[in-house]
Symmetry: C2
Subunit: 480 residues, 2 copies
């Protein structure tokens, strides 16, 4: 008998759910491997991983300026041949300058940095925050992380003190939150987003969820907001953000603002929690001073799309120094975020400016990616509108659509017979028939009695969209 089995290992890990890379994803990878080996028995010739926001796996090209700088950081001896870089390899002078700036401040990208990140990179982030929000930022309150996921992990580890610690989490949500709370054996306090109002955030609903949890003895400590939304794509108006901050100030809740999709906004404009909070503090002296806000950002999304490099940061407002010391200690146990990922954060927040030699190409690439994503999102949305029993809001932001599906009663029965929820059943059949991998709504949470799935709109071409339409029609006909 092995010492470890499902019954005696950490039950909180066993209970955690993470559907984005669950059964469907595993099966899709097996299909991909089979296709690579020339397996001809499958009804499709390609696997489309629409289950995960992984831009560069699909079609998105890295930004040239970023990668040219990184190539020098990885091999600084290239700087011994500047003329070759400039004349024969298409590097512009600002690429060399930036690489030298970073090398001067970092030394080697192969060395551990300071635990919270390279000081010069934190200074660049502070400048970016000031420019974005119109309020100065303190580099000492910024912590580099291995993607935003690692930042969320750090913050929840410090905030949650045990099973009665509660965190308000939007439903549907990116399952990192529920999975991390499971592992920590803390309490997820779900609040539902309003599908009828473009998946907006209703303070009334939050209040209800908060009061119910409080009455049940939960010590609710923080509220998570994902803006733009994942999986919903919702992009919050400033009024929603103000309302959340008012509620947080009143109930003394820490605010965790997951803003990794801040540049993926198609409708309206991104408003940062930081900007709105600092405005409220200015407008209402004393009222909002106590609000603790942690805002998270990442290189994985947006037009950067560098998920594989695992870079990100969070910045803190209003946290107690004692608590920040514990955050520092916690991140120092894992030593530091990947240094090359930290450099990508610096490049993201401090890209080429008009007049810089690399700016024209940077702008062209950036806008090309943005327009491409918008076009794909719209094409997919149009396809959903034509599908029987499918309802989907207009694409607002992030990298996802999250349509509602209505399946016939016979499909729900067939799902039950397989031990699956109807949305899992639908997504599994979709994968088997088309090679398109999406994530059932149950992986993110959804209102009782509703069904959804989340799909990215990152994949190029229209063929995969057509294959979803064809599958959907056949599915409906089979179970009608």
């Amino acid at each position: 008998m092995p010492r470890l089995n499902l019954g005696n290992i950490n039950s909180h890990v066993v209970e955690a759910k993470y559907a984005v890379r669950g059964e469907l994803a595993v099966k899709s990878e097996a299909y991909r491997a089979a296709l690579r080996k020339g397996d001809a028995g499958l009804p499709f010739s390609e696997v489309i991983s629409a289950n995960i926001g992984n831009p560069q796996q699909l079609d998105q090209k890295p930004i040239t300026f970023f990668r040219q700088v990184l190539s020098i950081l990885e091999h600084p001896q290239l700087l011994e041949n500047e003329q070759v870089l400039l004349d024969s390899l298409g590097y512009k002078p600002d690429v060399l300058e930036r690489a030298k700036f970073l090398l001067k401040n970092i030394g080697s990208v192969g060395a551990y940095s300071a635990s919270a990140g390279v000081p010069a990179i934190k200074e660049s982030i502070a400048k970016f925050l000031e420019k974005r929000d119109g309020f100065p930022a303190d580099p000492a309150r910024i912590y580099l992380s291995a993607g935003a996921s690692s930042g969320v992990n750090t913050l929840l580890h410090v905030i949650c003190a045990g099973p009665t610690s509660g965190i308000l989490v939007p439903i549907p949500q990116y399952p990192l939150y529920t999975a991390s709370l499971s592992v920590l054996n803390a309490t997820c306090v779900p609040y539902y987003l309003d599908e009828a109002a473009q998946w907006g955030t209703s303070v009334e609903t939050i209040k209800e969820a908060y009061n119910t949890a409080k009455n049940n003895g939960t010590d609710v400590r923080a509220i998570v907001i994902i803006n733009p939304g994942n999986p919903t794509g919702a992009s919050l108006p400033e009024s929603d953000i103000r309302a959340v901050l008012q509620f947080a100030a009143k109930e003394n809740l820490v605010v965790l603002a997951d803003e990794v999709y801040q540049t993926n906004v198609f409708i309206g404009k991104f408003h940062s929690f930081r900007q709105v909070l600092l405005t409220l503090q200015k407008e209402n002296p004393g009222v909002y001073d106590g609000v603790e806000l942690a805002s998270l950002h990442s290189i994985s999304k947006g037009m950067v799309g560098e998920c594989g490099h695992r870079g990100g940061y969070f910045d803190l407002i209003g946290f107690n120094t004692d608590v920040e010391e514990q955050i520092y200690k916690f991140v120092s146990i894992m030593l530091c975020a990947p240094v090359i990922g930290q450099c990508l954060v610096e490049l993201m927040v401090n890209p080429p400016q008009p007049g810089d030699p690399s700016h024209p190409l940077y702008e062209q690439e950036y806008n090309g990616i943005f327009e491409g994503l918008k076009k794909r999102a719209t094409a997919l949305y149009e396809a959903f509108k034509e599908m029987e029993g499918v309802e989907c809001g207009e694409p607002q932001g992030s990298m996802y659509l999250f349509p509602t599906i209505h399946v016939p009663a016979k499909a729900a029965e067939a799902a039950r017979a397989e031990g699956r929820t109807p949305d899992e059943f639908y997504c599994m059949r979709l994968l088997e028939a088309t090679g398109v991998c999406v994530v059932p709504g149950s992986g993110f949470g959804q209102k009782e009695g509703t069904l959804h799935f989340r799909t990215t709109f990152l994949a190029p071409g229209t063929e995969w969209v057509s294959s979803i339409k064809k599958f959907h029609k056949e599915f409906m006909d089979t179970y009608r």
Copy 2:
């Protein structure tokens, strides 16, 4: 009042201790910043971070072949100008080949990989393990991680089910183990290493610690071994490893073999737990089949020294499939290890071979680093031998020396008056006087009544060693 304070946040995080980056390290960084700003009030002109095994921060150069490959992975468009790379930039054909192999198998290093790592990289690791140990390895049992630290975090998270779960940890130890067990609220079961026997591992001592813990109601599940040792530098003979595995087989304990210093061995030869276990299984059919072994390795140490890239892996033997599924799920929540770090793992386990164009330079660099480390270790050891009240074993392996210090009673009194242990007091005075940052033995654990400090021998030159000698003499004279 802020919502979060030291009294209401996660007490297990608050209790965790991680001295490697603690008060002394923070103070040393402040000194470094002051020196950068031209502060002339300090009695030294340079800070030597001997507190942490961070080779490339000090003097170790990256291996050229590795970094040339990485530069192409970061900017694949370089391959559009192969002739320029070959003729003008000193890249050899095998650099280009390896970059193409990796790009073919990865796509973009900016994309998430599979959760447990890039399949082709796991295959390279399996080949390396087979070559190193003489037994085939299964790529499906290999998990890439963000440095070995992240692997340890994963394994302890899955293994520890609560406060009564106990893990045998060597003392002195690398404090990642005790810190992680604190955060997990699991029980550290310390077993002392034998300083008189070159910090060897005594099964008698392990047995006693195990029995005491068991009698106290602790469910001891696993044993950690760090070989070569950190902080001790000990390099275990095969007989010690056999004895530990015999004990583990008898008591049904999971074995966690931290082997990140496997190439930093100056005396004798590195024996992997994997090789010894598979040999025992072959020699004694049935007896060792149930042993669960997790072995960890990293790109951070050895002649690679690429800590900043956060790469590593662990491989499993004998784990239940159900349990491996939980490990997979746990790592998938953080998505994947940094992909460029995964590529460095591939390069580490599959370096240029004799006859390959890059081999001569690779070998020269590798041997140069190895000999340099050995020479520095010996020089530091010789210095310690000459210092009053300092005892230190001959350097055997890893990147550290861990001398015993005897301080005068008056120094111990002065330490108490400052609320410090005598070794903390000694290390603080050393930092203030010389700019040399080392870690007190209490940060790793030490037998009651003994005092030590850990120093790396990575810093170049002899000046810093002389300044330690000079400080030590003055310290002894002051408190005699």
